[in-house]
């Protein structure tokens, strides 16, 4: 944190949109004056507009596609990549050149995020870029937009907080920080999005939040964004008479969000239109249909007296009236597709359905197979049943099937629709009633669209020691796989044990070494470890060895790799090392191998995905 910083800047690097919010640190008084930066961006060739959101899309234009000079931005005559509104607009009609959801690829196991792989289904001649480069392009645009607006207070000198999904694994966090560093934001720190949403709520309440929560509360943060659903649990505890907030659990990375909802509606309406008109709709029409459905959805949810909304898809040629297709989206359909489809009324014992994927699935993102957000929520709450047992909270009844949240905070534009948020609350409270638990209450007053960026900007304030800070630490315990010392049995893979190297809840800036377990590393040869994470095993300490575990306890991440440089040693020599794990101030996990001979340290890399294929 630099002392010279004038602003605390929060950057919400979303799957579909980026928002940048800031607060003036020199501003005196208790009130926090938060503002959202208007981001100049191209909306069409030659046209620049300021918008509060930068769509997270990159378009890779053909050389003949755009007139020279039409891509100029206020700060650069010819940007390297086209990002923002123009990318989304052009990509709508030419999807083979559009890079979307780069952020979700960062957390995609089995993919090397620094390899030029996007757009995944582009023909050979399109020069692809890596998910990492796309993230960098968005950050660079945001940085330049800021520096254009505040030439005196450059972003490189401000306190910058980047938000990441709570479910991001260590490698994805590392990549995010690396991308920030690559564009000169060396000081950027990470914050989990659900925490940012809670900070925003605290900031918004203007000091009144203490009256809305009490010791013993468990706040469930449900963040349904454009592309992902993120779940977190935050417990309210007391220390020396002050209320404290501790993030106790995070959910899995669920690729399911508002865009899926709009698409689901569009497909429903498309089927209806095709039946009515007898024509087949083309893919560009589906795009227009998705837009129309989104608007109709918002209207229907906001105006309960409307029974249905007309949906119109205009023809592409200049004849507007002749080629326009029309149908209606009724409230029943909306409820059936969105409310029943995405928030089904299920008992808490239900789990998301996961079918084995077909062998020939095209390379792509691992989208959630079950669209039922309530099922994912049920699975999360059941899995985290023990999450608050260590905090001295009132113990759950013995027969409780899941963790009972007492308060709920919503985030994400999707949940602005009363129909959806009420349904979600209704389902949750139904589960609670079934176990004779008190109903959870909704914490209101959050700005669902901009909360994450605002909360991130406020976090810079909190880091200066003003206001309450959410304690968190790592949301999982981490393990490396070591082969157990057993005689080899032909035909059987050697048994593997999981050795805990970082316990649950390690705080930023702390380090834990594993001195008793020694590994021999060969100089000059890459050594790989299998790497695991557990979001439920809170009691394991560094050095704990697990011989067996349940499938849902430990989740295998990508392998980690270490290569010892020669540096004056002979290739082929074996160096005895032990491992240490540290959580940096930035919020990333750092694994190191420490030589037992001379304390020399080597960094262990996370991002070695798919290198072995």
């Amino acid at each position: 944190m630099s002392e010279a910083a004038r602003y605390s800047v929060g950057i919400d690097l979303g799957t579909t949109h980026c928002v940048i919010s800031y607060v003036d640190l020199r501003h005196d008084g208790d009130e926090v004056a938060l503002a959202v930066l208007a981001i100049p961006q191209l909306t069409a060739p030659g046209t620049i507009e300021e918008k509060s959101q930068l769509p997270s899309f990159t378009y890779l234009p053909h050389a003949a596609e755009i007139v020279e000079g039409e891509t100029a931005l206020p700060w650069v005559a010819k940007p390297e990549h086209l990002v923002g509104e123009i990318a989304r607009n052009l990509g709508g009609k030419t999807p083979i050149r559009l890079v979307a959801s780069a952020k979700s690829w960062l957390c995609h196991a089995g993919v090397d995020c620094k390899q030029a792989i996007l757009p995944a289904d582009a023909p050979e001649e399109v020069g692809r870029i890596s998910p990492f480069a796309a993230s960098m392009a968005y950050l660079r645009h945001l940085r330049d937009a800021w520096n254009h607006r505040f030439p005196e207070d450059r972003l490189e000198q401000q306190d910058v907080t980047l938000t990441v999904p709570a479910s991001f694994d260590p490698a994805a966090r590392e990549l995010t920080v690396e991308a920030a560093r690559a564009v000169g934001l060396h000081q950027a720190v990470l914050l989990e999005e659900p925490q940012a949403a809670l900070y925003s709520w605290i900031e918004n309440s203007e000091g009144d939040w203490r009256n809305h929560v009490r010791v013993g509360d468990v706040i469930l943060v449900v963040d349904v964004g454009g592309g992902t659903t993120d779940l977190s649990l935050i417990a309210v505890t007391e220390q020396e008479g002050n209320l404290q907030l501790t993030r106790v659990a995070v959910g899995d990375h669920i690729l399911l969000g508002g865009d899926n909802m709009d698409l689901a509606l569009a497909y429903t309406v498309k089927a209806k239109m095709e039946q009515e008109s007898g024509k087949r709709l083309e893919s560009w029409q589906l795009q227009a249909l998705t837009h129309a459905c989104r608007e109709a959805k918002e209207k229907l949810f906001n105006q309960p007296e409307l029974g249905s909304m007309p949906i119109v898809v205009a023809s592409r040629g200049s004849s507007l009236i002749g080629g326009t297709l029309r149908t209606e989206l009724s409230r029943d359909e909306l409820n059936r597709v969105l409310v029943e489809g995405f928030l089904p009324q299920v008992p808490v014992s239900e789990r998301p359905v996961s079918k084995p994927r077909g062998g020939l699935r095209a390379a792509g993102l691992p989208y959630a197979q079950d669209a039922g957000i309530t099922r994912h929520l049920a699975a999360f709450l059941a899995k985290q049943k023990e999450a608050v047992s260590e905090l001295g909270h009132a113990a759950l009844a013995e027969n409780a099937g899941f963790l009972h949240p007492t308060a709920v905070l919503f985030n994400g534009g999707v949940l602005k629709a009363a129909g959806l948020s009420e349904r979600l609350m209704g389902v949750l409270n139904g589960w609670l009633r079934a176990e004779q638990a008190p109903e959870a209450r909704l914490l209101s007053g959050a700005d669902l669209d901009l909360a994450v960026a605002r909360g991130a900007a406020y976090y810079g304030f909190v880091r200066k020691g003003k206001g309450v800070r959410i304690k968190g630490g790592t949301a999982a315990a981490y393990y490396v796989g070591v082969e157990s010392a057993m005689p080899a049995v032909p035909g059987l893979a050697p048994e593997i044990e999981a050795l805990c190297i970082a316990p649950f809840g390690m705080e930023e800036g702390s380090e834990q070494a594993l001195p008793n377990d020694e590994f021999g590393l060969i100089i000059g040869e890459p050594v790989r470890f299998r790497f695991f994470a557990s979001k439920t095993r809170r009691e394991d300490q560094v050095g704990t060895r697990l011989e067996s575990w349940n499938d849902d306890e430990l989740e295998e991440l990508d392998e980690i790799e270490i290569t010892l440089p020669e540096e004056g040693m002979h290739p082929g020599d074996i160096v005895p090392v032990h491992l240490t794990a540290a959580v940096t101030e930035v919020g990333t996990l750092e694994l190191k191998a420490v030589s037992n001979r001379d304390d020399k340290r080597w960094k262990i890399e996370f991002d070695v995905r798919a290198g072995n294929e």
Partner: protein, 217 residues
């Protein structure tokens, strides 16, 4: 046969019918001359007043772009205002107008709609297309303009205008007699652009292409 001689020393001694006619003609001509002169002077004055008429009052800001926008958005509200000094007409830059057309075409297919022959279609078909235009225009206007009604009163309610009211914002119609305060019925609440966010254009951008031809490969 009479012969006429000119003798300037001769003086008429009798005021006969000829002289009566002559005197009458002189008086009539003199009166005519005076009337013509007066009417010419009056006419010139009136003309002076009419010269500034084609300039709509710049209601919010002096930039030329805004003037064009005013023309389109506030069709109802073109107001003529007296200006005593010689008037310099501002040349509107066409870019802003073209930009607005381009926005309306992009979001609402506005030009397509206007240019299409509607006589061949049924009202239901036109209605379906009108939804596209209505939704899109709404989006384009909301994104780029902030509109507010000029009068906060309910349409149809009685309003009174005090002396010195802004005649550019309120237009009187009907039985305009007497002095302010005027009291009447608010027929239309008026519209005012309070904020304007037109896109910026890159150097050399050809704004006259309001919709590029599309060729799908």
């Amino acid at each position: 046969m009479n012969t006429y001689t000119i003798d300037l020393a001769l003086r008429p001694t009798t005021f006969d019918l000829w002289h009566v006619c002559l005197a009458g003609t002189v008086v009539v001509l003199a009166l005519l001359l005076i009337t013509v002169l007066i009417s010419v002077i009056l006419g010139m004055r009136r003309c002076k007043r009419h010269v500034p008429a084609p300039v709509p009052a710049p209601a919010i800001a002096p930039q030329p772009e805004i003037k064009v926008v005013e023309k389109i958005v506030e069709v109802e509200k073109i107001v003529r205002e007296p200006a005593p000094e010689p008037v310099i007409l501002k040349e509107a830059t066409p870019d802003a107008a073209l930009q607005l057309l381009s926005l309306l075409q992009k979001e609402a297919r506005f030009i397509d709609f206007i240019k299409e022959d509607v006589s061949a279609y049924s009202d239901a078909e036109i209605g379906a297309a009108a939804r596209v235009v209505h939704q899109g225009c709404g989006k384009a206007i909301d994104e780029h303009f902030t509109l507010a009604p000029v009068s906060q009163d309910q349409e149809g309610s009685r309003v009174s205008l005090h002396k010195g009211f802004d005649a550019a914002s309120f237009r009187l119609t009907g039985n305009i007699v007497g002095e302010a305060p005027f009291s009447g019925t608010l027929v239309h609440k008026g519209w005012r652009v309070t904020d304007l966010r037109l896109p910026k254009l890159t150097e050399g951008h050809n704004a006259s292409i309001i919709a590029a031809a599309e060729v799908e490969l």
